[in-house]
């Protein structure tokens, strides 16, 4: 069953590889988003309990003790919720910065941006 962890690890490593090797700013932003998705999935898998219920109290549970025995872990879910919202603001800020760079340099290619910013370095 721990094989799912390796699938998530593969997703994370694809993202890291993309951040280092890609030349296009949009592709780099996409790679960062892939890393975020992988980390969020990993945290939710750590908090999962086999055959568990969603952490919402309904009439089906006799008391909170039975609820605590059946429910999945609410704590990673709350933290990942925070993480998702922060990641979308990070992505939005990165997109705005790269749009501004596009307005100045007319390209998303980081090699050409670097070449125009520093003429000595061709």
């Amino acid at each position: 069953m721990t094989g799912i962890y390796f699938l998530i690890l593969a997703l994370l490593l694809i993202g890291v590889f993309g951040v280092i090797t890609q030349k296009n700013l949009i592709k780099i932003i996409i790679s960062v988003s892939i890393i975020e998705a992988a980390v969020n999935l990993f945290l939710i898998f750590v908090g999962y309990r086999a055959g568990g219920e969603a952490p919402i109290i309904t009439e089906r549970f006799a008391d909170t003790a039975e609820f605590a025995r059946l429910s999945v872990d609410p704590f990673p879910q709350a933290m990942v919720l925070t993480s998702i919202v922060i990641s979308v603001s990070l992505t939005a800020l990165l997109i705005v910065i790269s749009l501004r760079l596009y307005h100045i340099y007319g390209t998303y290619d980081i090699n050409r941006i670097w070449g125009e910013a520093d003429p000595d370095n061709d």
Binding site: F6, S33, T58
Partner: protein
């Protein structure tokens, strides 16, 4: 989702890459639903739509539809080294991970999650324990999250403003 990640990185069309990222996001939303996290699934869908709209706006500028360019060898070597090292380290770490399905709070006495589950209804009056953790027990985290969003919006407005910007020299 793995296929989506490969497509997102190795297609030349930027729009296809953005759509593949959408596949990853909605796929992870479905997995959240299977793992009994409905709040996360809803949030992930909303966030994914916002991200897709912003990315398509960034892709639809004139003359930036493809990501071509010559490849260099050095970044691939560096990336291969880093990813390989990370992979070896992670394999040793993941072999010590417990089975999926045995939650952390079953293995630790006095786990905070167990306290939240047992006392959350009495202390906060909320039936949804994710929300009781997010908005009551860990409210300072949410305050910090709101600060981050506010800073991001402020930075975006500052970078995209039209008024009061000096003309570029060239």
């Amino acid at each position: 989702m793995l296929i989506g990640a490969f497509v997102a990185l190795y297609t030349d069309e930027l729009l296809s890459a953005v759509i593949a990222l959408g596949a990853i996001g909605f796929g992870s939303s479905g997995i959240f639903l299977l793992l009994r996290a409905p709040d996360l699934a809803i949030t992930q869908v909303v966030v994914e739509v916002i991200t897709l709209v912003l990315l398509i706006r960034a892709t639809m500028v004139i003359g930036a539809h493809t990501a071509g360019g010559k490849k260099q060898l050095l970044p691939y070597l560096v990336a291969g080294g880093i990813v390989g090292g990370l992979f070896i380290f992670s394999v040793f770490t993941l072999q010590n991970m417990p089975e999926i399905g045995s939650s952390v709070m079953d293995r630790i006495d006095d786990a905070p999650s167990l306290y939240y589950l047992l006392q959350g209804l009495d202390l906060t009056g909320s039936t949804n324990q994710v929300m009781s953790v997010l908005l009551d027990f860990r409210a300072y985290d949410t305050l910090g999250e709101a600060t981050v969003i506010f800073t991001a919006v402020l930075g975006g407005l500052t970078l995209l403003r039209k008024n009061g910007r000096a003309e570029p020299n060239e």
